[in-house]
Amino acid sequence: MQLIAEDLVIDRGSRRVIDGLSFAVKAGEALLLTGANGVGKTTLLRTLAGYIRPFRGHIRLDGGDAELTVGEQAHVVGHTNAIKSSLSVAENAAFWNAYLDAGESAAPRTEAALRHFGLEDLSDFPAAYLSAGQKRRLGLARLLVARRPLWLLDEPTSSLDTASSERLVAAVNEHTQSGGLAVIATHLPLALERVRTLNLAAQRVAA
């Protein structure tokens, strides 16, 4: 499987944010998007996810499901966490499991997801009581529930302490090891395996 972007030109309002960008991400690989604020990392991620239509250019997932768009085979974790405060931690996870992936049994997968991010003892608490870091971890746990081949992450380590960041890195590594792909926008270093960097300011890909 390969994520291929060709000659992407993306406008936001009257500003041309991305002008003729091409890159590819192979299965088992993570691509880090770096660059100063405002250079277009979030815009590129949202375009890959399908929210924004590029002015020109193509995005496709070779080897993926031909019936689905790229966005439908991806899972995005952006700046917000998509957590409902009135529900408990477990209920939040269960809802996403049921919504995103019908037909699979809920409990084992959501438990495993919560456990990976250290939230299993909090599962009955209302999500409103969680700290900012814990909410971020719950938002990231959704990645393990969604089970999509392409992960699109926007500043995933924000609000995370060192231990939690390590859990995230472990999750991404496991994901790429089993053949998944990831595109991660960050301006902090992430110790990932099998990683390449794309600096959007210079629009060059470094191995």
Binding site: S14, R15, G35, A202
Partner: protein, 255 residues
């Protein structure tokens, strides 16, 4: 062979073309307006029922027609934006909305002034006036929505969606208002049948107003294009002057 809309799609070409057309349209509209007013106020007979006040009809009816036509223009422009992504479609819709609202308001105002001598009150809830009033609200909604949204690209598309929703519901609204009217009062026909001698001034005034709208619409579109150009230039200038901007700008900011 490009179609007319395709050739006009380029804003620069549009500016050139409209610059050449505008004086002619304005002149034609002025002439027709003068002729129409002459016919309306001097040459045509007074109505045997209503006397001199019928002359307000020569302004009221064309305004009402125009208020509907302009909404049609907005609807077509909105369709052009959403389906064909025509670059000038949004400029057209944005320019037309205030004009349409103005014509609608004029229609209401003249209708009210016309009504006073006829029915004794400044307002009556008959089918046509009520429909025009609701049309006025639809225009207000379009203008309000666009001005509330800061992101111009999103504002363009959202306003277009609202315009298309409005144009779809408009016939239903008209139908429901007519229904409501027949329920609540016996039909007092607002316009008596129009005498042939009155048709000519009416048509002339209608044509005059239509040309007037086109002239104003073109002018407003030109203004809007210019405004957007200024805005784009300023945005670029802001990006170019940022001393902390890390990227090497290929556009070559003047340092």
């Amino acid at each position: 062979m490009q179609t007319l809309t395709q050739r006009l799609a380029n804003p620069t070409r549009f500016m050139e073309l409209s610059a050449r057309l505008l004086p002619w349209i304005s002149a034609a509209s002025a002439i027709l307006l003068a002729y129409g007013l002459y016919l309306a106020f001097i040459d045509s007979p007074a109505d045997y029922q209503q006397g001199e006040t019928v002359r307000i009809m020569y302004i009221h009816v064309p305004c009402a027609w125009l208020s509907m036509m302009v909404y049609g223009v907005i609807a077509v422009s909105s369709f052009g934006l959403l389906v064909f992504r025509h670059p000038l479609a949004d400029v057209s819709a944005k320019a037309a909305a205030p004009l349409g609202a103005a014509f609608t308001f004029l229609a209401l105002l003249t209708g009210s002034l016309w009504g006073k001598p006829m029915w004794g009150t400044y307002w009556v809830w008959d089918a046509r006036l009520t429909s025009v009033l609701i049309l006025f609200f639809l225009y207000l909604g379009l203008i309000a929505l666009r001005s509330a949204l800061e992101d111009e690209g999103a504002a363009a598309k959202l306003t277009a969606i609202l315009a298309l929703v409005g144009v779809t519901i408009l016939p239903i609204i008209k139908f429901s208002v007519d229904w409501w009217n027949t329920l609540h009062q016996p039909s007092t026909d607002f316009t008596s049948t129009v005498d042939p001698s009155m048709r000519l001034p009416l048509l002339v005034m209608a044509a005059a107003f239509t040309l007037l709208f086109f002239a104003m619409h073109l002018k407003a579109m030109r203004n809007e294009i210019l405004r957007r150009r200024v805005k784009a230039l300023r945005t670029q200038a802001v990006a170019g002057r940022d001393r902390l901007a890390a990227h090497a700008t290929t556009q070559g900011a003047a340092e």
